[in-house]
Each structure stands twice: as structure tokens, then as C-alpha cells.
């Protein structure tokens, strides 16, 4: 009986081991298929134009750079104003992020900590608009930009983007979790609403504010349709639009195109590696849970 039990446990153990091995196999296959395209991109970006159009002799030649033509990166910078695109992307990204966090935090404070007539109806209107497809609102806003004469200005790239219903919603959810007693104590001490917001709510909400900051900046860095609609001249382009026009001009210079793609991805990948915990954080904040 005892022997049988042990054998059963052993059988279970080896089965567990096999399952664990299978899990590793799935993960490794997944990881390799995720990496290969990136490797292919990096390798191509370091080749000469002639080397690109040769069938690689073996696997290694295909994915591991055998030559390091770093000049490709310098050349990509030379043939199109990549530096300007970078600058535009960074400037617009910072402005949009600062604006979004500022307006969202203020509105979220009103929605979560203050009582006023019409609050819940107004909040419902905010929430409802997050369900509306972007193109429905983009059309009139694009028309508005044309009528204002804002096309091809930083105003068009920044101002319509800094009023985020989603950001307001997310911060409101976080502010709701802060204990009410904190405010009551401050109120007795004679603190005004702005002091409470600035010295109590904001410092306690650093994780939520950081999450919104990271999300907004990264979203803006990848944003494509809006900057495409409202920019015409080369000097106003953000990185994605610049990269797209680069692609149309140098459609077969794959080594330069891959160098450009690497340069567009690199900052965001670095930011992501340092801030990835906020992505998991955002799930908790918006109440989306399993």
C-alpha cells in the first residue's frame, strides 16, 4: 500500500516534470519567434546594399551580423532629417504627456473627491466616449484644424491630444482608493481644496501618475494617423511620419530602412524595459481583472 502510494507519487512527479519541460519548450519557441524578426532587422541594418540582395548561405549568416556597417545609421541621418523627427517626437511627446497628466489629474480629483451637481452624469459622459471609435471624432477635429489654420503647426499635434477621458477615468479610480480621513484632517487644519490636491492627493498617487505618464508618452511616440493628417512639411513630421516618408523615398534601400526602424524602436524599448511594471499596474487601476 505504502509502496503503491510512493510509486503513484513518482509517476505524478515525472508527469509534472514532462509538463514543465513542455512549458519551457512553448516559451522558448515563443521567445525565438519573437526575437527572429528583430535579429533580422538588426542584421539587415548593418549590411551593405549589395549584401542584402544575396541569398544567405546558412542560418548564421542570416541572423547574426557578419559585418558591422555602422555608417548605415549615419547615412540614414544624412539622407532624411532624422534628428528633426526625433526632436519633434520628443517635444510633442513631452508636451502631450505633461498636458494629459495635468488636465486628467485635476478632473479626476473633482470626480473622485468633490461633490457637485451633475457629477455622475458628467462622468458617465466621459466614460461613454471611450467606447466611441476614434475616427468618429477625428473627422470633425481634423476639419476644425483646417478651419483654424492649425494644420502643420505644433498646436495641432499637441492641443487636441491632451484631454484624455481614459486618463481621467484611470486616475479617478486610483484617487477613489485613498482614505477619506486624510482630507478630513487637512480640512480641519484649514487646508483649501487646492492644497489638499497638491500636498496630499498627488504625492500619494505617484504610481498612478507614473503609469499614465508612461502610457501617454509611449502611445504618442507610436501615434500615426493624427500626425499624418495634420502635418505636411518635412520639418513638422514626427518620427513615425518621417519614417513612412523615408520608406516611400528609399523603397529598396532596406539597410537604411532597417536602420531607421531600429532607431524608431530603440528609445521606446529602453523606456519599456525600465517601466514595464506600470503596464501590469494599469490593469489593477482600471479594474480590469480576471
Amino acid at each position: 500500500m505504502a509502496e503503491k502510494k510512493i510509486r503513484h507519487k513518482n509517476a505524478l512527479g515525472s508527469k509534472e516534470k514532462r509538463l514543465q519541460l513542455f512549458a519551457y519548450a512553448v516559451l522558448v519557441i515563443g521567445a525565438v519567434s519573437m526575437i527572429l524578426p528583430f535579429l533580422w532587422m538588426a542584421t539587415t541594418s548593418l549590411k551593405t546594399l549589395d549584401a542584402i540582395f544575396i541569398q544567405p548561405k546558412n542560418w548564421i549568416q542570416m541572423f547574426v551580423p557578419t559585418m558591422f556597417k555602422w555608417e548605415n545609421y549615419a547615412e540614414a541621418f544624412k539622407v532624411v532629417p532624422f534628428a528633426k523627427f526625433y526632436l519633434n517626437s520628443i517635444m510633442v511627446g513631452l508636451a502631450v504627456t505633461a498636458g494629459t497628466v495635468f488636465t486628467s489629474a485635476m478632473a479626476a480629483y473633482a470626480f473622485s473627491r468633490l461633490t457637485f451637481p451633475g457629477r455622475d452624469k458628467l462622468f458617465f459622459a466621459y466614460l461613454a466616449t471611450t467606447m466611441i471609435p476614434g475616427t468618429v471624432t477625428i473627422i470633425p477635429v481634423y476639419v476644425l484644424m483646417r478651419l483654424f489654420g492649425w494644420v502643420d503647426t505644433y498646436k495641432a499635434l499637441i492641443i487636441p491630444m491632451i484631454f484624455s477621458a481614459w486618463g481621467t477615468f484611470m486616475l479617478r479610480q486610483f484617487f477613489m482608493t485613498l482614505p477619506k480621513e486624510l482630507e478630513d484632517a487637512a480640512k480641519i487644519d484649514g487646508c483649501g481644496f487646492f492644497r489638499i490636491f497638491w500636498t496630499i492627493i498627488l504625492p500619494l498617487s505617484k504610481p498612478a501618475l507614473a503609469t499614465l505618464t508612461v502610457f501617454t508618452f509611449m502611445g504618442n511616440w507610436s501615434s500615426f494617423m493624427w500626425p499624418l493628417l495634420v502635418t505636411n512639411s518635412e520639418t513638422m513630421r514626427t518620427l513615425p511620419i518621417g519614417l513612412e516618408s523615408f520608406k516611400t523615398q528609399y523603397s529598396t534601400d532596406w539597410h537604411l530602412l532597417m536602420a531607421g526602424s531600429v532607431m524608431a524602436m530603440l528609445p521606446i524599448v529602453i523606456i519599456f524595459i525600465f517601466t514595464q511594471r506600470f503596464f501590469v499596474e494599469s490593469l489593477k487601476l482600471t479594474g480590469v481583472k480576471g
Binding site: M106, T135, L243, M265
Partner: protein, 310 residues
């Protein structure tokens, strides 16, 4: 006194709200109705708008008789709607892959965070850069995929001709679906599944083990029902997202071709708005899309909370 405090609070609330509220009204709330209004006009932004009633919607959704046969007024729209729907067939496959990766990650493997970071990378990279990368991967002569197919063929001892990928009528849509698969399986959906799996109480499994359940039985009796709210949520969000997808790929990779095979509704709206300056028609398409998406959102609100197994 109490009344005064309340008015003060209301005043403060609107002061706090005002920066966001003004922008929200101008750039989000009013545009929803503005685009509905625009859908009743024919307008190219530069000339005076012309009121056409529901004509845009008739052009878009209606049909007419031609020699006894019913012909739709805008066959392109229906083709693009079909394209959009076709691309959404990859949703269940993507979800299964995300779940598979999440289950594997949830088994307390070594280097979990490294795997998770790697899987997440494609979904945070700028879409334009990813699209250009995949354009090169799909290159029929020198691209990565056809190189791999060539090597596999050589290994097996015969020559497998790789497809033309984006240049072929039949392969164009599956190619984009493959790319989307790569982008999305390790992204937010996997993280959602992982969070759901971690939320299942351990004693459920322990109880099942005492009853002698095997791994497969445990999955169907415990895991699957426990994560069903997440599955439902991801599925609906993917559908809602799918209706609005395909713009960037079409714009950068295929130009909507070959033969309109990769033009989605979103790209059609963009072309009407930007390329052809047909604001009224673009608004009509966008609003029709909105109605469809709204129906799916209603399903989400109505049933989303009810499917939770606790």
C-alpha cells in the same frame, strides 16, 4: 453656512474640471455629434457644404436594381467590410496562443520576467517601424520568411516555392494576420490572462487532485470557467478593435491592395477623408461603424458582468 460650503465646493470642482472639460467638449464630446451632422452633407472642406439628407447613407448601405438583379450601391464598402471581418478570424487563434503562453509562464518557470518582457516587445514598438520591418520580412525574393522556407526545403531535399505574401491576392490577408499574430499574442492579452490565472485559488486545484483529476480535466473544470470573464472581455475588445483596425498596415505596406484585398473600413474612411476630401461620406461610414461597435459594447455591458464564475 452649510449651503455656502457646498457652493464653494461646486465652484472648486468646476475650476478643477474646467481645463479637461473644455478640451473634452471641443475635441471629443461635440465632435461625436458634429460628425453625425457632417454625414448629412456633401463637403470637401474648401467649398460650401451641401445638405444631402440621408443620401450618403443610401450610397453607402443601399442597393438598386439593375436588369432585375439587386446591386449594392457601393460594392467597395462591402468588400472592405468583408476584409475587415476576415482579418478578425485570427482573433480566436491569437487568444489561444496568448492563453498558452500565459499558462506556460504561470508554471513558475525560471526567467519568467525575461520571457514576459520579450513577448511584450512587439506590441509596444511603434507600428510604423514594425510594418516596415514586416514588409522586408515578407519580401518574396530576399525576405526572411522565404529564406527560411528555402532553407527548410533544402534541408528536406526538395525545393518549396515560397508564396508572394503581400503581393498575392490569396496570401495578402493571411500575411497581415500572421504579422498581427506576432504583434499581439504576447501583449496586453497575455498579461490579462496571466493575471486571471494567478487569481484562481490554489485549493481548487488541490481539491481536484485529491479527487484524482488529470491535467486536462483540471483545465476544463477549473481553469477555463475561472478565466471565462477574461476570455469574454478580451474577445469583445478584440472585436471592437478589429472593426477599427488595418489602417496602418494598408497605408504603409500594401496601399490597400492587391485589388483592394487588404483595404479595411478604417482605411476606406481615411481615404475618403484625407485623399478624396469627402468629409460627408467619411462621416457616414464612421457613424455606421460606430453603430455596429456600439451594439458589441452593449453586449459587453449587458452580459460582461454576468459570466463571472465566483
Amino acid at each position: 453656512m452649510a449651503l455656502k460650503a457646498r457652493t464653494k465646493e461646486t465652484l472648486a470642482a468646476y475650476l478643477f474640471l474646467s481645463p479637461n472639460l473644455i478640451g473634452f467638449m471641443i475635441f471629443t464630446f461635440l465632435p461625436v455629434f458634429a460628425s453625425l451632422l457632417l454625414s448629412f452633407y456633401k463637403w470637401d472642406i474648401t467649398t460650401t457644404p451641401k445638405f444631402v439628407g440621408v443620401h450618403n447613407f443610401i450610397d453607402l448601405l443601399g442597393f438598386h436594381s439593375e436588369g432585375g438583379r439587386l446591386i449594392v450601391n457601393d460594392p467597395k464598402f462591402w468588400q472592405y467590410l468583408w476584409n475587415t471581418a476576415f482579418m478578425m478570424f485570427s482573433i480566436p487563434i491569437c487568444m489561444m496562443a496568448s492563453l498558452g503562453l500565459a499558462i506556460a509562464l504561470n508554471r513558475k518557470v525560471k526567467g519568467e520576467s525575461v520571457f514576459r518582457t520579450l513577448f511584450f516587445l512587439p506590441s509596444i514598438c511603434p507600428g510604423v517601424a514594425v510594418a516596415i520591418l514586416w514588409l522586408w520580412i515578407f519580401n518574396p525574393d530576399y525576405g526572411m520568411l522565404n529564406n527560411i522556407i528555402y532553407w527548410i526545403g533544402k534541408f528536406l531535399g526538395f525545393n518549396i516555392p515560397g508564396p508572394l505574401w503581400l503581393n498575392s491576392l490569396g496570401w495578402a490577408k493571411p500575411s497581415l494576420m500572421l504579422m498581427n499574430f506576432w504583434i499581439s499574442i504576447g501583449g496586453m492579452n497575455m498579461i490579462l490572462y496571466l493575471a486571471a490565472l494567478q487569481g484562481i485559488p490554489r485549493d481548487f486545484y488541490e481539491a481536484a487532485e485529491i479527487d484524482g483529476a488529470n491535467g486536462w480535466q483540471k483545465f476544463w473544470a477549473i481553469t477555463w470557467p475561472q478565466i471565462s470573464p477574461t476570455t469574454f472581455f478580451i474577445f469583445l475588445m478584440s472585436i471592437i478593435g478589429g472593426f477599427q483596425g488595418g489602417f496602418m498596415q494598408a497605408y504603409i505596406m500594401t496601399g490597400g491592395g492587391p485589388g483592394g484585398a487588404t483595404t479595411t473600413i478604417e482605411y476606406y474612411i481615411f481615404n475618403n477623408l484625407y485623399t478624396w476630401q469627402n468629409v460627408g461620406y467619411a462621416s457616414a461610414i464612421a457613424w455606421s461603424l460606430f453603430v455596429v461597435i456600439f451594439l458589441f459594447s452593449l453586449v459587453n455591458w449587458r452580459y460582461g458582468g454576468k459570466l463571472i464564475h465566483y
